[in-house]
């Protein structure tokens, strides 16, 4: 077995579901012969045909509408938005229809669609290509928002998303699309949604993150380990709904917590996680929760983007503030 990247794991999961469920249909801008701008659908049209892997006209709201109509007919549409920054014209259909179809028909219709979007900064992309607005989607009742941070979790979570009976926003951290390789058996085994993953157990502090920032978070944990500090690392993975039990268990154990995300601070998912800890584990806390996040600014264009994205140094600094609090 060869090692594959997160991007290749996405392709592998799409191919597995296309091969095993004829109701699965993949579509979006340039996903056909071109294989998508990041090549996430590379080779799928050749293998499965142009009626199952479809290039659409360039219209995001329509892409969402197609997915909703197809899903209501019992298909399992997997729609790609080329970049998260281009998904907003589709928000009307995602929010007003995909997210509420089951509720507003009292279960008569439902919407088993997946909306895939590459997101986040760090690849020196053009303007509007680098935002992290996962909180926007996580705030919408009826949606689930899933973010993988490793090849294995990309494969297992995307399988689960496609098989889910409800609409899923599947955000792919493009900065780590090709960063690491990992063995990912193509066995069709899905990972559970609604679960956070403890990537490393520790006793002194809990480091929480998701998506591309998992990478810096893990590096920070390594550096802390060199100094004898034992950090527990949690990959949230499902940012809506949140696996609060795993978070609370960890904080009950460590008493200290740093939350890391690339998105802007105010109203970000870090705020929700901190609030959940405040509600459910306040008396376990030995120090205030620290958030290491993007700023409440526009995501800088690429010359300055690395000044925006949470760095290892900032995470270590925040961890130390937490550890030294008394």
């Amino acid at each position: 077995m060869t090692n594959i990247t997160l991007l290749e794991a996405v392709t592998q999961a799409l191919a597995y579901e296309l091969a095993h469920d004829e109701n699965v249909v993949v579509f979006g801008e340039d996903v056909g012969l071109n294989g998508g701008v990041f090549r996430a659908t590379d080779g799928l049209q050749l293998r499965f045909g142009a009626n199952r892997v479809m290039d659409t006209p360039l219209a995001e709201s329509m892409i969402a509408g197609l997915a909703i109509g197809m899903a209501a007919q019992g298909l399992k549409p997997v729609a790609e938005f080329q970049f998260m920054g281009f998904s907003y014209p589709a928000l009307d259909n995602i929010l007003n229809h995909a997210a509420r179809l089951r509720n507003r028909t009292r279960g008569r219709l439902h919407c088993p669609a997946v909306f895939r979007m590459p997101f986040g900064g760090g690849i020196h992309a053009p303007e509007h290509h680098s935002e992290s607005t996962e909180a926007l989607y996580a705030h919408i009742p009826g949606l689930q928002v899933v973010i993988p941070s490793s090849p294995a979790r990309a494969y297992g979570l995307l399988l689960a998303a496609i098989r889910s009976p409800d609409p899923i926003i599947f955000l792919e951290p493009k900065r780590i699309y090709r960063l690491v390789k990992q063995e990912v058996p193509d066995n069709g085994v899905a990972l559970p949604l609604e679960k956070a993953f403890v990537l490393r157990e520790g006793s002194d502090i809990t480091l929480i993150s998701w998506g591309a920032s998992m990478h810096e978070t893990q590096q920070a944990a390594e550096a802390l380990a060199q100094e004898g500090i034992s950090a527990e690392i949690i990959d949230i993975a499902s940012i809506k709904p949140l696996d609060t039990a795993t978070i609370v268990n960890s904080v009950n154990k460590t008493g200290r917590c740093v939350i890391v995300h690339e998105a802007a601070k105010s109203g970000g998912l870090g705020a929700e996680i901190a609030a959940q800890i405040g509600e459910k584990a306040l008396l376990s806390l030995l120090a205030p929760i620290q958030r290491v996040t993007g700023y409440d600014t526009v995501m800088p264009y690429f010359k300055l983007e690395n000044s925006y994205i949470p760095s290892v140094a900032r995470i270590i600094h925040a961890a130390k503030l937490t550890l030294e609090f008394s």
């Binding site: 006209p57 709201s61 509408g65 109509g69 197809m70 298909l75 259909n93 219709l109």
Partner: protein
């Protein structure tokens, strides 16, 4: 040099004075015509009752259909049971024929989601965010095409809605993919207070289909024969791989936009009076009477019978028990997330305290 030209045809059978301007289509026999006449009356009586219920505080904001009865009634009758309707919010005439009881429509406007859990497995519920239903209809049509089924989709929209991006995105993909979908535009001249002329400089709305690569046509939307015939033909074409059609049905909104609107603020009185001379029921009655198919006693009996039917629906509606508060959460997801259990518990504890 000219590299493209187009024509837009206008279809009418029954003129406002109740005489035919061309022979009736063969498939519309007397019996069917009488049925359509009854349905239009039933719808008008329903509509009046709904507005009365709103006025006395027993219904929420309601969108009326007065003057536009022919369109929904014709669509509903022209469709096959296994076609799919993706409507906007003035299509009760079509919905009723497809399994949506009038008490369900009242239940919907009465603030109860269960009104959209009606007796049709595939049709979409009323769509409020303007034009989004059109792109969803394209998705339904894509699924039908993907499965090589001989079925078609009808999606409706008001003329104001055709200014929305979703309308253009929908007709564009329908043309590009040759989708089995019929777009029916209810051009009732007013989008709340904005007139047809303010909406677009396009001579017709039908011609917008030309830009999307398929045919568009105008039909007298107050002529139930014409609407029925053109929708029937468009559906047959769609089911047989002929692709989409855009039908612009010219009518007039004799009512307010909704019960929350007061059209007298913007609609010229003379225009309204003139529009009443062209409404769909009187012309069909005049025709049926001239054909010796109808008379005053039949009219009286029909009105009585329709009122009784609507009375039953109103009675059912007014006696519906309020849904359990857990319905608020229990249809959000296939399974309410474990991590949100405390919210459901809170709802169970306090949710009943706000009821009347």
């Amino acid at each position: 040099m000219t590299i493209a030209t187009f024509t837009i045809d206008y279809y009418q059978y029954l003129k406002p004075d109740g005489t035919l301007c061309q022979p009736r289509p063969l498939d519309l026999n007397d019996k069917t015509l009488l049925k359509l006449y009854r349905l239009m009356h039933l719808l008008r009586i329903f509509d009046g009752r709904a507005i009365n219920l709103q006025r006395v505080g027993k219904l929420g904001t309601y969108a009326g259909v007065l003057g536009q009865e022919a369109i929904g009634v014709a669509i509903g009758h022209a469709m096959n049971a296994d076609d799919v309707l993706v409507p906007y919010y003035r299509d009760y005439g079509a919905q009723y024929q497809r399994g949506v009881a009038f008490h369900k429509i009242l239940q919907y406007w009465g603030g109860d989601e269960r009104g959209s859990d009606f007796d049709n497995a595939e049709d979409f519920p009323i769509c409020v965010p303007i034009a989004s239903q059109n792109v969803i209809a394209a998705g339904v049509a894509t699924a039908i095409k993907y499965r090589n089924q001989k079925r078609a989709v009808v999606t409706t929209i008001g003329e104001g809605g055709t200014s929305e991006g979703d309308f253009y995105e929908a007709i564009n993909v329908a043309g590009a993919w040759n989708l089995p979908v019929v777009f029916v535009v209810n051009n009732n001249q007013w989008a709340i207070s904005v007139s047809r002329g303010q909406q677009t400089h396009s001579q017709t709305i039908a011609q917008k289909a030309i830009a999307a690569g398929f045919s568009g046509e105008q039909v007298d939307g107050n002529d139930v024969i014409a609407v029925h015939e053109r929708v029937r033909i468009a559906l047959e074409k769609a089911r047989n791989g002929g692709g989409p059609t855009l039908i612009e049905a010219i009518t007039y909104r004799l009512c307010d936009h909704t019960t929350a609107d007061d059209a007298s603020r913007y609609r010229p009185k003379e225009e309204l009076e003139k529009a009443w001379l062209e409404e769909p029921l009187v012309r069909l009655r005049t025709y049926l009477t001239a054909q010796k198919l109808w008379d005053d006693s039949k009219e009286e009996a029909l009105l009585l019978e329709c009122r009784k039917e609507i009375d039953k629906d109103v009675d059912i509606y007014l006696n519906i028990e309020i849904a359990p508060v857990t319905d608020i959460v229990d249809y959000m997801y296939a399974k309410w997330p474990e991590s949100l259990k405390d919210q459901r518990d809170t709802l169970l504890q306090f949710g009943d305290s706000h009821h009347d």
